[in-house]
């Protein structure tokens, strides 16, 4: 059974501020004509826009708006009359004493009769997330990518025939909408802070809880609730708006999974990276592609979400599951770097072959004041895969005082990244080994100073 705790009552010529009992004088109960949900994922926030038709009288109209048992932020509630903005105006909202979950609006109208109005407000308890399924070709040169959007409703409100939109972007909020919904006094009391700084962790915990619920419910309901609908995408300010075609019924407690896009044959690059300061001693496997038209993408940013990666292992479409990886938000034209974790079949092993010191400096007391420490390194690389691969080896020296001597064959593969980091980039054929060698001289003590 659908619940409708949200209500609107038109009251007569009443003065709430002095007569609370007057609200029983009900005139009209306008139903929702249309509902639009705009759901954010960076915060527990949904902008609800309802279209209703009110029967107004010329002059001042009073209308009761109730939100008991919902997660609505009452301070966000606004009323507009599209096309009649100057003729119908919400002048005042009165939150009476000792009554929670309802307010009285004073609406000034120059129109006598039915008026289409839009009521907007924030609610919490609805959320969405993106997730992906990637399927690599057998040679791992291409990937098929399916993107989905999953919406969950835990708002306490049933939304029927709702036009549904989701927003990608990081919004700045002062308060948790859920906290605003639970206040005894919508604007708090004098002497209390107007807002409490958000605690990221609490927000994240709540979203995680919703998302955890979503995973279980998706699995149970995906088959029944999934409909093939297109999603219209639009960039606005720093956000991206996904509008789902048609309308949806999203009862409280239910979820919806909708396909966002499906792209075939995205050219991908297999990259292996070694950087001790970032990944430890393991070689990291990455799959790289760019969110651009060259890669059959580039129409929209890719929202952050988990990617489950599969691989075709036979001609009859047999699959192997590789794993799931988190993906960051990727703007249009930016490179996507999927981190598959430690690689087993590509090994990168830096080996210190020799170490010596020289160029000692002494102070006037005969104590050592500086020297050079010279190390010979060999980076041994094994590609045990049946594919050619690209490898990046980062070396961090943790000091700005160093000199490197690359062997001739390293030229063209070497670049300085910053003051204490260099990078080697290598292309390695399938089932092959190679060794990268360099000498590094660390300048210590007085040797770090010019002319010493």
């Amino acid at each position: 059974m659908l619940r409708k705790p949200l209500y609107l009552l038109l009251t007569g010529l009443l003065v709430w501020s002095t007569a609370v009992d007057a609200k029983i004088d009900l005139v009209t109960l306008p139903a929702r004509d249309k509902t639009q949900l705009t759901i954010y994922n960076s915060a527990d926030l949904t902008l609800v826009r309802e279209q209703r038709t009110l029967i107004l009288k010329k002059g001042l109209n009073r209308l009761e708006f109730g939100w008991e048992n919902t997660l609505i932020d009452p301070t966000s509630v606004q009323l507009y009359a599209p096309g009649n903005e100057s003729k119908v105006r919400l002048l005042e909202v009165n939150f009476p004493a000792n009554i929670t979950g309802s307010a009285v609006w004073s609406i000034e109208s120059e129109i006598d009769g039915p008026v289409a109005v839009e009521i907007t407000f924030f609610t919490s308890g609805l959320n969405w997330r993106a997730f992906y399924m990637g399927t690599l070709s057998k040679d791992e040169r291409h990937m098929h990518l399916d993107a989905y959007v999953t919406i969950q409703n835990h708002s306490g409100e049933d939304y029927e025939n709702a036009s549904t939109r989701v927003i990608v972007g990081t919004i700045h909020l002062l308060d948790e909408i859920m906290a605003l919904a639970g206040r005894d006094s919508p604007y708090n009391r004098p002497g209390t802070p107007q807002y409490l700084p958000l605690t990221r962790s609490e927000s994240d915990v709540r979203l995680d809880a919703y998302r955890a619920l979503g995973v279980a419910e998706d699995m149970a309901k995906a088959a029944a609730s999934m409909e093939v609908k297109s999603i219209i995408k639009e960039g606005l300010s720093e956000y991206f708006l996904y509008t789902i075609e048609g309308t949806e019924n999203i009862p409280d407690g239910w979820g919806k999974r909708l396909p966002s896009f499906s792209v075939d044959k995205i050219p991908v690059q297999n990259l292996y990276r070694y950087e001790e300061e970032r990944y430890g001693k393991s070689t990291q496997r990455l799959v790289i592609f760019r969110n651009d038209t060259v890669h059959q993408l580039g129409k929209e940013p890719l929202p952050d979400g988990d990617i489950k990666i599969f691989k075709h292992v036979s001609k009859d479409q047999q699959l192997a599951y590789i794993g799931h990886v988190p993906s960051k938000y990727i703007p249009v034209d930016q490179e996507v770097e999927l981190d598959f974790g430690a690689a087993r079949d590509v090994k990168i092993d830096p080996v210190l072959m020799s170490e010596k010191s020289e160029n000692y400096r002494f102070n006037r007391h005969g104590d050592i004041s500086g020297s050079d420490r010279i190390q010979q390194w060999e980076i041994k690389v094994e590609n045990n895969r049946d594919l050619p691969i690209k490898i990046e080896v980062f070396r961090n020296f943790n000091t700005p005082y160093w000199k490197i001597n690359n062997q001739e064959e390293n030229k063209g593969k070497f670049e300085g990244v910053d003051i204490d980091t260099v990078k080697y980039t290598l292309d390695i054929a399938a089932y092959s080994n190679t060794t990268l060698a360099y000498d590094i001289t660390y300048l210590e003590g007085e040797r770090q100073n010019a002319n010493h």
């Binding site: 501020s17 002095t18 639009q36 705009t38 902008l47 826009r49 966000s76 002048l91 005042e92 909202v93 009165n94 939150f95 009476p96 004493a97 000792n98 907007t120 924030f122 939109r165 927003i167 972007g169 990081t170 919004i171 700045h172 002062l174 006094s185 919508p186 604007y187 009391r189 004098p190 002497g191 107007q194 807002y195 960039g235 606005l236 300010s237 720093e238 956000y239 708006l241 970032r278 940013p301 952050d304 960051k328 938000y329 990727i330 703007p331 249009v332 034209d333 930016q334 770097e337 102070n363 006037r364 007391h365 004041s369 700005p400 300085g416 990244v417 910053d418 003051i419 100073n449 010019a450």
Partner: protein
């Protein structure tokens, strides 16, 4: 609910040293007449109410009590309005263990006297909120301001004149426990500037190494100036919620911020959210010591450090972006070379302002010397 009472004691001339007598008989309960509630102070609210007393010839005792109402007793003032020369306040007493006081007023005759009582009342105030809508280009803004009256003072006011430090006075009733939100002013088509701010002292230098794509804060700047259809008065601080029209007939919510108090001529800055379509990567690419100074033991005691910073900005958006890059500076420093003009914010901070083209890149490099670093 009325919890403030004023009463004239029956027997004039009683000595307050006898509290049992002094705290008994009430004769008249003069109603509030004109009541003014001043909300121009950010922290406290001043109430001024007028009442007409029926005074007897001689000394009258006026009992004023405020049980359960948050009045600052030291702020209570009584002003005699009609016959200030002949009717005089001669004594003020505080009864024990009561939220009350007794005024002794001398009256030359039996007469009606209008008085004004002023006091500071807590837990009644106003907050300001803003709702704004930007256009698609994000260079114009429609602004609505709301006044929210909150009364949890313990006292109800059936009808009072509310005064702010700007705008017209207005008459309202407000009960104890009640909150009222009123449209305060609306103005449209205000010029705004959208800016992105990267602060190298706060934001990660290598965004590609972060687990989540870091956002660059985005703000709107709004000038409280006459040439921007404002500038008539200061804008009070308050929560501002900002929306934007979408391609259809609807809107999206862009974000909210706490607007600061903005005097005329000043700029209001509203942080709406973070952009992940602008990437800023920063590296230190040079660090060399110079100008080394030693003590008699040949130990280095002082040196300079020559350093170079490279900042690479990539704009993935379809629109150009105005980016402020804030660079913290350490020690005694001197810029030697810079690819772009910069502004000195203070001794510890410089700021670049860049226009990054749509789908474009910009690179800023600057070199500086940090002087007289002690070993």
């Amino acid at each position: 609910m009325k919890n403030i009472y004023i009463a004239i004691l029956l027997i004039s001339g009683l000595s307050l040293t006898n509290p049992a007598t002094a705290r008994t008989k009430l004769v008249a309960l003069p109603e509030r007449e004109n009541t003014i509630i001043r909300l121009d102070h950010p922290d406290v609210t001043l109430i001024q109410e007028e009442r007409t007393l029926s005074l007897h010839k001689g000394v009258n005792q006026i009992d004023f009590s405020w049980k359960g109402v948050h009045i600052d007793p030291d702020s209570l003032r009584l002003t005699i309005l009609q016959h200030p020369d002949s009717t005089r306040l001669i004594n003020v007493s505080y009864p024990p263990n009561e939220q009350a006081l007794v005024w002794e007023i001398f009256s030359p005759d039996n007469q009606q006297e209008k008085i004004r009582i002023s006091y500071l009342l807590s837990n009644i105030d106003r907050v300001i909120t803003y709702e704004a809508k930007t256009n698609h280009q994000e260079n114009k803004l429609d602004l609505s301001s709301y006044l929210v009256l909150r009364n949890f003072s313990g006292e109800s006011f059936d009808s009072a004149l509310f005064q702010l430090d700007y705008g017209n006075d207005f008459e309202k009733s407000i009960l104890d426990g009640e909150t009222r939100r009123m449209l305060f002013f609306e103005t449209g088509n205000l010029k705004i500037r959208k800016i992105f701010i990267f602060n190298a002292g706060i934001h990660p230098w290598e965004p590609e190494k972060e687990k989540q794509t870091p956002g660059i804060p985005v703000s709107y700047e709004l000038e409280n100036m006459k040439n921007n259809q404002l500038g008539q008065h200061a804008l009070w601080g308050g929560k501002a919620r900002i929306y934007q029209n979408d391609a259809g007939t609807s809107t999206i919510f862009l974000g909210e911020d706490m607007a600061g108090f903005t005097p005329v001529g000043q700029k209001m800055t509203l942080h709406i959210g973070d952009s992940r379509d602008l990437s800023v990567t920063q590296h230190k690419v040079t660090e060399e010591r110079s100008n080394i100074r030693r003590n008699r033991n040949d130990h280095i005691v002082l040196y300079d450090s020559n350093e170079e910073i490279r900042i690479e900005i990539e704009n993935f958006k379809d629109a150009p972006a105005t980016l402020k890059v804030i660079e913290p500076m350490q020690d005694e420093w001197d810029i030697k070379k810079s690819s772009h003009d910069f502004k000195l914010v203070n001794s510890k901070e410089i700021e670049f302002e860049l226009n990054v083209p749509a789908k474009g890149k910009s690179t800023v490099t600057y070199s500086y010397v940090r002087k007289n670093i002690r070993s």
